[in-house]
């Protein structure tokens, strides 16, 4: 078994079996969705150093791509998810020139790009195609059990991607690029091509999560699938746990999303406060996330 393989199997089994003993399926579904998005952020930020604030744009593109494939082409939901992922990858290809930017410039440009996708989708002139601001209804294919099971599969795929990156030369090359892009070039790595591959991979994961989310909720508005909070949550969960590891984003998502559901829904104002304090403490004391605590006591982190 490759490094991190058993952890992944454990997490996937947990979410596959929990619905039989725990009733809040919406919480479990959303937690899986954030686990996928956090690993998608991890693929891009953890392994290449690009922080995509507009990551939700791929999620929304996937939600709309899959939904329109169901509504307009009458595809069954599962093949439609792949159309959604393909739409996200296409958007990522169009936005690939953003990778020429670095640091905060990239973060802001990716945010602006996701807003552009949102405004195109929600444009009232496109009502005949996207339903514009009125949102999408997939009531005719609604199936909460099948869409939950599909998200379990998508989660397995996301974890498999990160396990692959943690164990492969591609993952090593991406980390080399993140650390020293110029040296990476002299190590023979095609820096531009590898960055674009990670970008597309990351977009595809968000697209799959978005499509599966659309299917699961079956009624949604453009605002809800292009909500910047989705990006922010996924980014904070990833950073809180620790990037470039398999376990970090899992820990971050389970703990913080758990916290959110514990106090965030009943007392949102306290949650904002706690969330803010957690972020400040994280930046000040644990810039490398929770996994750095484990490393400090010499626990190997896959």
């Amino acid at each position: 078994m490759p490094r991190g393989g058993w952890y992944s199997v454990g997490v996937v089994l947990l979410f596959a079996l929990l619905p039989f003993v725990y009733g809040n399926h919406a919480l479990l579904f959303n937690m899986m969705m954030y686990l996928v998005l956090a690993q998608g952020i991890n693929v891009l930020f953890g392994f290449t150093g690009y922080l995509p604030f507009g990551y939700v744009g791929f999620f929304g593109a996937g939600a709309y791509g899959a939904s329109l494939a169901i509504l307009l082409v009458h595809l069954p939901p599962v093949p439609a998810l792949f159309v959604g992922a393909a739409v996200s990858v296409l958007v990522a290809l169009l936005l690939a020139p953003l990778l020429r930017l670095s640091g905060a410039y990239f973060a802001i440009a990716s945010l602006a790009a996701s807003e552009v996708v949102y405004y195109i989708v929600s444009n009232p002139h496109l009502v005949s195609l996207t339903q514009g601001p009125y949102g999408i209804s997939l009531a005719q294919v609604y199936n909460s059990g099948a869409s939950y099971a599909t998200m379990v599969v998508v989660l397995a795929m996301a974890l498999a991607v990160v396990v692959y990156l943690r164990n492969s030369h591609m993952g090593l090359a991406l980390q080399a690029i993140r650390e020293e892009p110029i040296s990476a070039g002299f190590a023979g790595i095609n820096v531009v091509r590898e960055r674009i591959r990670a970008w597309l991979l990351s977009a595809a994961l968000a697209g799959l999560a978005g499509g599966t989310y659309a299917w699961h909720v079956s009624v949604f508005y453009p605002k809800s699938v292009f909500d910047l909070n989705i990006s922010v949550f996924a980014i904070v969960f990833t950073l809180f746990g620790g990037v470039a590891t398999l376990v970090g984003p899992i820990m971050g998502t389970l703990l913080l999303y758990g916290l959110y559901n514990w106090i965030g829904i009943s007392q949102p104002e306290y949650f904002q406060l706690v969330f803010g304090i957690v972020i400040v403490l994280l930046v000040l004391f644990l810039p490398n996330g929770l996994v750095s605590l484990l490393r400090r006591v010499k626990i190997h982190v896959p």
Partner: protein
């Protein structure tokens, strides 16, 4: 001058950063296995020359030829595959990776034999550090790792940027031996260096630069008596 056909030819290379003319028509040639020192005061364009030849910057004018073919528009990894490699004034290893991983990734992406990793580790005295994170190495060790990363890619032309700076006398002596061994194996070396004693161990042939231009080419001993060279170093 050069005993055989040049491996590297640099022709009238120019590079400007805003109002600053970093390179102003630099021309030089290097044969396989030859060692050429590039010296000059700070800001004379030595490192810029290495950056343009290695593809970190593009030239504004002039040509860089490898085996007589222009490599002007090629990205860094293509130049590395053609046999150009380099080290950095401030070493740039992949700090989050182990020493072994640093070399492994270079070996895989340079399509080198993985067996080379072990030889390279031995050659540069990095074998005991193979499992250590590169960030934990001291500066001299990081410089050797930088050099090892370049050697794994089997360069024919190695650009060495101030490898001597910050090394103690014993380390300097060892580094000079290492570079001489590399050159004897047929690799051409272009060595930017402020430490002339260290450079003398490697070669007698130098190009002296000032304001982006070559002002002297010949032996180090003659350079030391050349009035223009003396003026540049003392007056600069």
């Amino acid at each position: 001058m050069s005993p055989s056909a040049p491996l590297l030819s640099v022709e009238r290379l120019s590079k400007r950063f805003g109002a600053f003319q970093a390179l102003d028509g630099l021309t030089l040639e290097l044969a396989p296995g030859e060692v050429l020192g590039l010296v000059g005061p700070n800001g004379s364009g030595k490192t810029t020359a290495i950056n343009v030849i290695s593809g970190v910057y593009s030239a504004d004018a002039g040509m860089v030829l490898l085996d007589g073919r222009s490599i002007g528009g090629l990205p860094i990894h293509r130049r590395a595959h053609l046999g150009i490699n380099r080290t950095f004034q401030v070493p740039k290893p992949f700090k989050g990776l182990t020493v072994g991983e640093n070399l492994e990734v270079a070996a895989v992406y340079s399509r080198a034999d993985r067996a080379e990793i072990g030889k390279c580790l031995e050659f540069l005295e990095l074998a005991p550090l193979v499992g250590r994170e590169a960030a934990s190495l001291n500066s001299a060790q990081q410089k050797r790792l930088d050099l090892a990363r370049a050697l794994i890619a089997r360069p024919r032309l190695l650009l060495v940027d101030e490898l001597g700076a910050g090394l103690n006398p014993v380390e300097l002596q060892r580094m000079a031996q290492t570079l001489t061994t590399i050159a004897r194996s047929g690799v051409a070396l272009l060595v930017v260096e402020h430490l002339l004693g260290f450079l003398r161990e490697l070669t007698s042939r130098v190009v002296v630069m000032d304001a982006g231009r070559e002002i002297f080419e010949g032996s180090l001993e003659v350079a030391a008596r050349d009035q223009q060279v003396i003026d540049v170093f003392l007056g600069g």
